[in-house]
Symmetry: C2
Subunit: 262 residues, 2 copies
Amino acid sequence: MSALRRTSRPVYQQIADELRDAISGDDIGPDGRLPTEAELVERYGVTRGTVRQALAVLVNEGLVVSDRPRGYFVRRRRHMTYRPQQELLVTDGAPAMDRFHRSVAEEGRTPSQTIDVSIVVPPREIATRLRLNAGETAAVRRRVRSIDGEPFNINNSYYPLSIVQGSEIVLPHDIARGANRVLAELGHRQVGLRHHLISRMPTPSERHRLQLSPGTPVTVHYLTGYTAEGIPVRAVENVLPGDRHEVLIEDGQVPPDNESST
Amino acid sequence: MSALRRTSRPVYQQIADELRDAISGDDIGPDGRLPTEAELVERYGVTRGTVRQALAVLVNEGLVVSDRPRGYFVRRRRHMTYRPQQELLVTDGAPAMDRFHRSVAEEGRTPSQTIDVSIVVPPREIATRLRLNAGETAAVRRRVRSIDGEPFNINNSYYPLSIVQGSEIVLPHDIARGANRVLAELGHRQVGLRHHLISRMPTPSERHRLQLSPGTPVTVHYLTGYTAEGIPVRAVENVLPGDRHEVLIEDGQVPPDNESST
DNA sequence: TAGTGGTCTAGACCACGTA
DNA sequence: ACGTGGTCTAGACCACTAA
């Protein structure tokens, strides 16, 4: 049908542009299905390879997923609000898992998590934040939190071995009163936090563990907890899929939040 | 040379895996050059199409860029630290551009920015935050900040027209004492901020304006400023390329930051 | 000018889930 | 069983830039 100019922009980009417009307009809504590759081949009079190149553009932009063999579909974003300030100084109050549980349950969905604990030489990003020497080990509690059985984020919490050795932090169970509380009981109460946020594409391992579609970036949230003496006693690496999370931080005097938490 | 199994994983993924390992190991360092497509064709005994498929994987992971006709190169990340808390309540102190200028100049690089001001119906994300009715207009100051002539981030600040009409905020010049100060003089001093951070792939327009390589996500930072009465008087949309920024937030009592700002 | 990656064609076989 | 997208081959011509 609609012949495309051969002169200017590559054909596959023109096709991608038209499909993108059809999506951002409302010709194809969220969860809507795109034409099949065969249909596009016929419509534009090009090879399947060219059509696939066009679709790959949209897939890598995170606009579209291929759900074989059903076809290509427009992606929908569903954001859960993540409030890193709630990780603040909670030696009292509800621990992290309870908060996650509660906010998810409020929406009628089912939260779950896996925990695995081990002693490792942490990655550079963590070792630096805990001020460990090269080769020095730390205890790590690795969690994958899921909603309705689908993985939602990764949460790896590292603690200097010298501090948590023999405590229940190195046991692979949920800590009902919260790890921060345990640290405080061990004499290492946190009074300050530093948050680092970066955005990047996921590693193959993250893509697999979080079941990420192509074109989905992650926000990596590094959190370091300090005692009153300025000693880091906790370093967290939080991997948040971009299509499922937004980060909310409030500063100063703000009105109540009316928006939904999803 | 090294024949690849035909049984299990697709060949192009196996090639991508080997190249990725070569990169994360130190066989190919940052800025290092990958083998040419022709070399990979010969090494693996596959078609150029398959080799290109493998390379596309790495490009979309943000690990590699193609710099035609020089070849494929390993990408290097250079992070500038962005501190949204410095946007906090600055009715006194140095305004935003000064801070950007100073921190860039400290590294011996040259900052610059373009400003353009217009009256628009803001996008939904902004209209919601400013509590505008459908179709209601706002003044927007659009900035592109650059370092050494290369675009670095996009900063679009929206103000309700009823508030800033006739003030210097609607003039396309830098405001030496800061827009926050002007708002305060107009009787709308901000006492609280709400930060929203999301991570996604850039739009084609953003990719073009920021000259982003494929595989580079952006962090979008929405900032809303509230008066003591809880009225939003400023909504900012900040687009931060993931390969150039990290966000730093401090909470409570933390030791001095020893890390470099880049 | 030589060599690089970018675009496009024409075809083949396969894995998979839904109907 | 059928139609979907996933993988792979074998070729062609082109645009760009560093040597």
